[in-house]
Symmetry: D2
Subunit: 156 residues, 4 copies
């Protein structure tokens, strides 16, 4: 069954239980991606639910670019991670799910702070998931980037 | 000055006055695009405000594709029109504003009905506007497509 | 089996036989999309091969926009048609194949002439096809737009 | 003046002199991005010319994901770097040039090897550059990803 979601799905009240508890997903991701989901890599899950996630990328000086702002690839990385985690939080631990396409528009130059990405799935089909991701700077209210991604879901 | 907007901007209560009245924009568009903004072309403005728009594409049998659903290009067309109108509603009548890039994810096959597109601008800079657009079928609640576009704004 | 292709695949010498003859595909498309693949709609196949296609959109005054150039949606339409035809020319007549995502960058304002789109598939998997599409004005050498699209392939 | 380029521009014979010598660009990038363009970060310029670049990302075990392939963000990072370097190689040292949008389709899972990205600019305008980027695995001929990006060029 394919389910699409509209803007209203952002309401935290409507959030459904994820397919696996956040603690278990944290443990599995740390084992599978030891250099990303670790204090060194700086990625961490803030929240997961069925159909969405919030993920944080800790600030790392190496992600700065001229002008003192954070580089585009750092924003892409946290957005892709949020999508991956939203998919796993919805279908369970299928680590071979892969991005098939990714699109991002950059809106503002982020300050030298952590980045938070919030993903919600717009479609969760048998073979394909589509999600949108907002990236915010920890420092400020307005989003710094808006992304969308498609994921191919392995056969169950 | 560049202004970015977050998800909260969808709230109709926060809608600001457009740069020109909707009746004037309708008249200008009908004159500039006589085959699109006409009963034959089927495009019409439902609403404009500073930073956004809602646009309808009337159903036309020629937009059907095998399976009885509406073709992708029809969804792209109404989404691009909503973005164009949101830009004009925010900067005034600058008909030479042009799309520089457009991206769309298709979520559901739309029924043989009118399509409504709602655009809101995520960024309105001096040179560049970025917007996201949700396309809905008149028939149902869930969105059928989600798009984003960038527009180049002529020098003022 | 999944096959990806690199830039060299543009060489016309390397073109393989399509999955069905061009005359048969023309007949099937005219029957399935009578308002698009007709003298009224103006879409026609110039060439198909396994993994690619060239498609023409005849000039129609209704596609003009202020400035005397052709509208973005007209470029999107011919690009999407070229992708659809490249997929059908590679997997045979599966008219329910649908676009799942589409992206386009606009490069130049096209003159008031026909548009030609050349698609080649970058990937043809069991479930997903990915293609890139160049759109040219009949009038000139340089491309006016560059697009990419993903298609979901129905189960065989 | 805006110049667009077609597929023929890939011919290495047609490559024009870059706006600054590759050695100078290497020195400037190492100073501006010490953690990326260094033996630790692993990014290096293979070649630049007016309108394009080839860039390598050395293999790093931290970029592996389950299945033994390289993660999507690593492919995005090298593609974005190739675009940035192609822009700088064409307009000179303007490090504040920034990506405004980025799109990528993933084609194949890359082996645990270096990634090479080749960018060529499709448009180089006063305000906007558009490029396409092919990402290859050092290990094999077929591309692993195909990207496009737009850059905003600072006022000169």
């Amino acid at each position: 069954m394919t389910k699409t979601r509209g803007p209203g799905a952002l309401d935290p009240q409507m959030r459904l239980q994820p397919a696996l508890p956040v603690e278990e997903l944290r443990r599995l991701l740390s084992a599978a991606f030891p250099e990303m989901f670790s204090s060194q890599g700086g990625l961490s899950i803030l929240e997961i639910w069925h159909g969405g996630s919030r993920v944080r990328q800790a600030f790392a000086p190496g992600s700065l670019r001229p002008g003192g702002t954070i580089s585009g690839p750092a924003m892409m990385g946290v957005a892709d991670a949020a999508m991956y985690i939203a998919v796993l939080g919805s279908i369970g631990w299928k680590p071979l799910a892969v991005t098939t396409s990714f699109h991002i528009n950059f809106l503002k130059k982020p300050a030298a702070r952590a980045l938070d990405a919030e993903c919600r799935l717009l479609k969760l089909g048998k073979r394909l998931a589509v999600g949108e991701i907002w990236v915010h700077s920890e420092a400020a209210g307005d989003p710094v980037a808006h992304a969308s991604a498609t994921y191919s879901i392995p056969d169950r």
